[in-house]
């Protein structure tokens, strides 16, 4: 094991600086801000999870056991809004990204620490608006806010929810801006672009998407609010406005938003896998470029959400082809992970299990994405549970598995403590099974024709729904487990030492937890990442 001494250093970012709550709420330290985000994100994750639980409970019996149709609409809307904007989008970039980006490039902090803190306040503020909308009675539009329903017909608190998402959107823009500038200007001596760890590449590509897509969503949502408040008619068919225009704007952001969720997850998986096999990642440059390719091509595929919405056949064909094209860099990544694992001695510790789970679920989600990119199939599968299963495999299976894997992997660095390996492995495996039991039946449901967003359904669909709900309860247990044993390790965990995984990378060269400005002296880099010698 490591020769360096295994006690938690006294002078670290957790103990130094202003004491008490004020020290945290006014901090400019990227590491503390990462932890603030982690707390907020965990809160919203369980809030969205409660809504998901209600949905799954309701669907156990065909008549809809629990809720009226209206309440059901509000439950899935709340689930979608909270999970997409307050959990999935910020999860990896804002927590792990904030914590690790400066450490990984050898900087003292991000380029704009005050802006970083401001982003967190925007995140919290946006969350308060959304929770306010829930407390006042909820929203029933679905997380997509499709017009003209959201602008003309819904008499729920659309404006409040939209403001919440608008505000949190700015949090995401500012985080992206901060990361881009940090990667460009704050790299330490010798840290060339092609010596950046893949997680940094992933964050960089993600930040580009955040910065270039989110403003479109922000403006579109402002237009919804203005349309509801002042009757601006740009999406209102009664005035000659165009509801399809809303869908174009919305998906111009919201499709790239999927890449905001999955690109950082890919970065995390790359770090986890290369450390778990103790080998260099296969095809480092291809991995980096494929992330940039996904970020760029991801901007050109939004039309596949509208194959049946009334866009022209030719637009449909073009968007279909581009949607197949974006699968190519994703496949490159999967092949490279597999090639890295090939003939390696795999250490099946918890982060590795999460990473392998990520690859499996991402593959299944990605392959069913190809079904949906084919226009002929999509016509049948649109708005069925097949779509629900597909995007949950990518967004929840992919991004949550990677997020938790990353949390486990960097937990010793963040807290200075080791977590218990046994429960962690058990939770990872349980999560994989729970996830598949929840969402695989939904592929079948969708294939058989069960539409999404219905609070009741015909009898024959029941057994698959019961399976799915049973899986959801296992999944819920596997999400609660890390909360318990990670919390336990904060007080009782053994001291980790600077590099418990014997991993490469600058973040492992400093103490765990790191000191306030990360490194006693600015590190100098003279080789690429992942110099593992097995």
């Amino acid at each position: 094991m490591n020769s360096t001494d295994r006690t938690v250093p006294v002078d670290n970012y957790l103990t130094a600086g202003e004491p008490g709550l004020a020290g945290w709420l006014c901090t400019h330290d990227h590491k503390r801000i990462g932890i603030l985000y982690a707390i907020g994100i965990t809160f919203f994750f369980f809030l969205g999870g409660i809504a998901a639980t209600l949905i799954r409970l309701n669907l156990i019996v065909p008549a809809g056991a629990l809720m009226s149709a209206e309440t059901y609409n509000k439950a899935f809307t709340f689930h979608g809004v909270v999970m997409v904007w307050f959990f999935l989008i910020p999860s990896i970039p804002a927590t792990l990204g904030n914590f690790l980006l400066p450490l990984m490039i050898g900087a003292r902090d991000v380029a704009f620490p005050r802006l970083n803190l401001f982003s967190w306040y925007l995140y919290v503020g946006g969350g308060l608006f959304t929770i306010g909308a829930l407390l006042l009675g909820g929203v029933d539009t679905g997380w997509t806010f499709y017009t003209p329903f959201s602008t003309m017909f819904s008499n729920t608190h659309v404006v409040l929810a939209v403001i919440g998402v608008f505000v949190v959107g700015f949090s995401s823009i500012l985080t992206g801006l901060n990361f881009i500038v940090t990667v460009h200007t704050m790299r330490t001596v010798g840290m060339h672009w092609f010596r950046l760890p893949l997680f940094v590449w992933a964050l960089y590509a993600t930040s580009l998407v955040m910065v270039l897509a989110t403003p479109v969503l922000a403006m579109t949502l402002s237009l919804i609010a203005l349309e509801r408040l002042f009757g601006v008619g740009i999406f209102d068919p009664a005035l000659g406005g165009d509801p399809l225009l809303f869908q174009h704007f919305f998906w111009f952001y919201s499709h790239p938003a999927v890449y905001i969720m999955i690109l950082p997850a890919m970065g995390v998986a790359s770090e986890l896998i290369t450390c778990g096999v103790r080998r260099r990642i296969f095809g480092y440059r291809f991995m980096a470029w494929s992330m940039m390719a996904i970020a760029v091509i991801g901007f050109m595929v939004w039309g596949h959400h509208m194959f049946v919405a009334g866009q022209s056949m030719y637009a449909g064909i073009v968007f279909s082809i581009l949607s197949f094209v974006v699968a190519v860099p994703s496949a490159i990544k999967v092949f490279n992970w597999v090639a890295t694992l090939h003939k390696g001695t795999i250490d099946f510790h918890a982060p590795m299990l999460y990473a392998l789970g990520f690859v499996g679920l991402f593959m299944l989600g990605g392959l069913t994405g190809l079904f949906l990119a084919a226009t002929a199939l999509d016509v049948n599968l649109t708005d069925t549970y097949f779509v629900v299963a597909h995007f949950h495999y990518i967004m929840v299976g992919g991004s949550v598995m990677a997020y938790l894997g990353g949390i486990h992997y960097w937990w010793p660095k963040i807290t200075g403590r080791l977590y218990p390996e046994g429960p962690a492995r058990f939770a990872a495996i349980l999560m994989f099974f729970g996830f598949n039991l929840t969402f695989f039946p939904q592929y079948l449901l969708g294939y058989l024709g069960m539409p999404r967003r219905y609070h009741a359904y015909p009898e024959p669909f029941q057994w698959l729904n019961v399976l799915s709900s049973a899986g959801a309860s296992i999944l819920a247990a596997s999400y609660l487990m890390p909360l318990c044993y990670l919390g336990w390790s904060l007080w009782r965990g053994a001291a980790a030492g600077p590099n418990p995984w014997r991993a490469t990378g600058l973040e492992w060269t400093t103490t765990s937890p790191p000191p306030v400005h990360n490194f006693p002296l600015p590190p100098v880099v003279n080789e690429g990442p992942y110099q593992y010698c097995p």
């Binding site: 003292r108 801006l177 500038v181 200007t185 270039l212 601006v232 008619g233």
Partner: protein, 219 residues
């Protein structure tokens, strides 16, 4: 020697190694921000284009009801103000802080003038009952479809004016700081990035002006 280096250290944030890195970061940050702003306004311009293709006549008639003279004067004012901002950056780089302060104040003043003139325009349109949601009852055949033109006109110019107002606030603060000698040839990044922002405000208007005021009058 120590006295000379004190203001430099005071202006440098702890996370940067040197002044060049700090300046590079703030300028790049502003450029990235400008990219987001371009997309922000891009939505409005795309929406405008789509609606215009659908209702060419209503948009032409709507455009013809805007105030060409005031619009042109506003364009001139913004162009001159942008020039003053650029000169302010040049002067502050050469260490002429007092001159830069006057130029920044002048820029802010022209911004205020722009806002006042736009207010006059809005008021006239309110009198003519051209503001959807508040007072809208123009006569004639395209009146209904023209509503979308006016909706977009107010959203676009409204968001632009908001940007002008923010710019005026930033410029005034900088002018005040410059008059107290806060900047030097070694430290001028705040002036530079604010000027960049002001140029963005100007350039957005360069697209608004022909779309709103000019194109409808060509036929």
């Amino acid at each position: 020697m120590s006295e000379a280096s004190t203001p430099l250290l005071a202006n440098r944030a702890i996370q940067f190694d040197d002044d060049a890195q700090q300046r590079e970061s703030s300028v790049l940050g502003m450029w990235v921000f400008i990219a987001t702003e371009v997309l922000f306004f891009g939505v409005l311009f795309v929406g405008y284009t789509v609606a215009r293709v659908q209702f060419p006549r209503a948009f032409a008639d709507g455009g013809a009801r805007t105030d060409l003279l005031l619009g042109s004067i506003e364009t001139g004012i913004l162009l001159i103000s942008s020039c003053l901002a650029a000169l302010a950056v040049r002067d502050v780089r050469f260490g002429a802080c007092r001159m830069a302060s006057w130029l920044l104040a002048g820029t802010a003043l022209l911004g205020v003038t722009f806002l006042v003139l736009h207010g006059i325009e809005y008021h006239a349109e309110y009198e003519e009952a051209l503001i959807p949601g508040m007072r809208y009852h123009p006569s004639g055949h395209p009146a209904r479809a023209m509503m979308i033109f006016f909706c977009l006109y107010y959203v676009i110019t409204g968001f632009h004016s908001l940007h002008v107002a923010i710019g005026v606030a930033l410029l005034s603060r900088l002018a005040w700081k410059a008059s107290r000698g806060a900047f030097s040839s070694d430290y001028f990044a705040p002036v530079e990035v604010t000027a960049l922002y002001w140029h963005l405000v100007d350039i957005v208007w360069i697209f608004v002006y022909p779309l709103v005021y000019l194109v409808g009058r060509s036929a």
